[in-house]
Symmetry: C2
Subunit: 334 residues, 2 copies
């Protein structure tokens, strides 16, 4: 059973994998680029993944056989385990609990595509829709508190398979960054009576200098205090605190916005490694006026040096206004 351990000073939680014993030599060599050989995510290889949790498939086909367009399966090497109790306990000044949680993989297509942008808009909408479905389902588990949807593309960004896929990790605790965002949003709302993200949407549309794409229901910007070159955020233009509340129309608008932005990044930066993460509210919260879900896309172009790690303080060599201009000028078809 993995352990969740809390740093006693700043309260940062860490998942300590205790299952697989690793030797020091395992950490010395660079992991290889995802292999283009056998792929367990390809159609026909359904028996090489754990049994599917959900699939969008032809109703005449059986689970875990071909005939699907989208499958959600448990991660074969999960960071957390579904079965068990939290078992919260102290060890002197330290706090820990069992590594209970869910870790699922969304296989976005039966074909061996290596990028989400290879899929059609309705297909991407389905991917976004199944994120919602899984979050709603996992919210039922009282032990769990936060569902994090994310995507790793490229070895540098942490991907071990090249077949386009996303992941959901569901945790018994709310991540620090999200808690800090919730707190910051609350302080602003208490003081000014508005959602700070809604204010940001309006100010960015007004200025225009950091806008990458302004589409049906969604705005893509380079954030004012971008940490990284070409860091891009996608926000719903109307206030909405929970990703799960997205409508089918909303998912269509988001699919178009996401596909456009990713295509621009792929064309301009020659298929960069990247991560995206959906930031939404913890499970135990209904809709709130002070938080606003969004997607953060982080191309992994620069090395992070010691001082960024140690301090949470970043040096960005490219002004977001310059990045936005390049992205606006990059024409793509969607």
């Amino acid at each position: 059973m993995p352990e969740l351990r809390k740093d006693p000073i700043i309260g940062r939680w860490v998942i300590i994998a205790t299952e697989r014993f690793k030797r020091p030599s395992d950490f010395v060599s660079e992991p290889a680029e995802p292999s283009p050989g056998f792929c367990p995510f390809d159609e026909g290889n359904e028996d090489r993944t754990p049994p599917e949790i959900v699939a969008y498939r032809n109703p005449d086909t059986a689970p875990n056989t071909p005939g699907w367009t989208l499958r959600v399966v448990p991660n074969k090497f999960p960071a957390l385990e579904v079965e068990g109790v939290l078992g919260k306990r102290g060890v002197g000044i330290y706090d820990q609990m069992n590594g209970i949680g869910a870790h699922e993989v969304i296989i976005e297509t039966p074909k061996h595509e290596t990028t989400l942008t290879a899929l059609s808009l309705p297909h991407i909408r389905d991917v976004l829709w199944v994120y919602r479905e899984r979050l709603i389902d996992l919210d039922q588990d009282n032990r769990l508190n936060y569902g994090m949807v994310f995507k790793n593309v490229g070895r540098v960004a942490g991907a071990s398979l090249e077949h386009t896929h996303s992941q959901i990790i569901v945790l018994p605790i709310t991540p620090r960054t999200v808690a800090a965002e919730m707190h910051g949003g609350k302080v602003f709302h208490d003081y000014r009576g508005r959602c700070i993200f809604c204010d940001m949407v309006l100010q960015e549309q007004d200025s225009g200098s950091r806008v990458v794409y302004d589409g049906d229901g969604f705005l893509a910007i380079e954030p004012y205090a971008a940490r990284f070159p070409f860091e891009t955020w996608i926000l719903p233009k109307e206030h909405s605190s929970r990703y799960q509340d997205i409508t089918t129309g909303g998912a269509e608008g988001l699919a178009r916005c996401l596909r456009t932005v990713l295509l621009k990044l792929e064309v301009l930066l020659n298929m960069p490694p990247y991560n995206y993460i959906i930031h939404t509210t913890p499970f135990d919260l209904g809709p709130v006026p002070h938080y606003h879900w969004h997607i953060e896309i982080i191309p992994r172009l620069t090395k992070v040096a010691g001082f960024e790690w140690g301090t949470g303080f970043y040096i960005n060599p490219l002004p977001p206004e310059t990045a936005a201009e390049h992205l606006r000028q990059t024409n793509v078809e969607t």
Copy 2:
């Protein structure tokens, strides 16, 4: 002039470099390993760095000529500029100020050594002593609030030159992580009346399972909630909140502890890329009972994936107890 910009939601400050215009293609290709060719840090090349601020040198020699054992020079490509005013201002919901600060390089030896551990103990003590000297001097500048000493080793860890060196960045604001540590330490001290780091030192010595090295005045441990394999912290065993208060005897003990730990990491992990960062209090604070300076050493062995970025939540595939055992069993001479 670079800009300091504040994320309006969580208050994270970012340095936005606006001086050098970069093209998107600058971010596409991987930076090369530090070149073993011409080195501006070697003895005899003093005219290839900005003029020295401090040097430990033979008193018969002139500044910026050979005859030194240690030089501190301004960074040739500084992230921040020394001259100017802060010029704090708002832009709608956003806050910014001029990128005022200091960025210095400590060239640790005139010989072309690629690792700190190649130096003798008295030489390493001098490196640690000049950190103190620079922090005390830079503390005089009323515009500046925090001095961060760090080291990048290897391309993966952000180094652009292989000649062993450290850096100091001095900022007008306190980094988020340090502020969070100060806050956590304060909350613990208010509640229990003790320093949480002192408690940690005692509990780690008592348990022993995460101890790497217990030496004269300093303890090296794998922290309980380690984020990374072989993440190692060095703490003074006696309470001390400010690195600048280190004594000459303390610097000797720290030199031995640091050299031992780095040698163990180098032998066990085959010269890994790594960063270290000194965490100490902001300038405007005298000695305090609730904070305890320390060094965090982070070998850069694993890739950080999307969800770590997005959430400040880490998965560590190696229990710190296992890492500590390997490091204890790695024998090195100091």
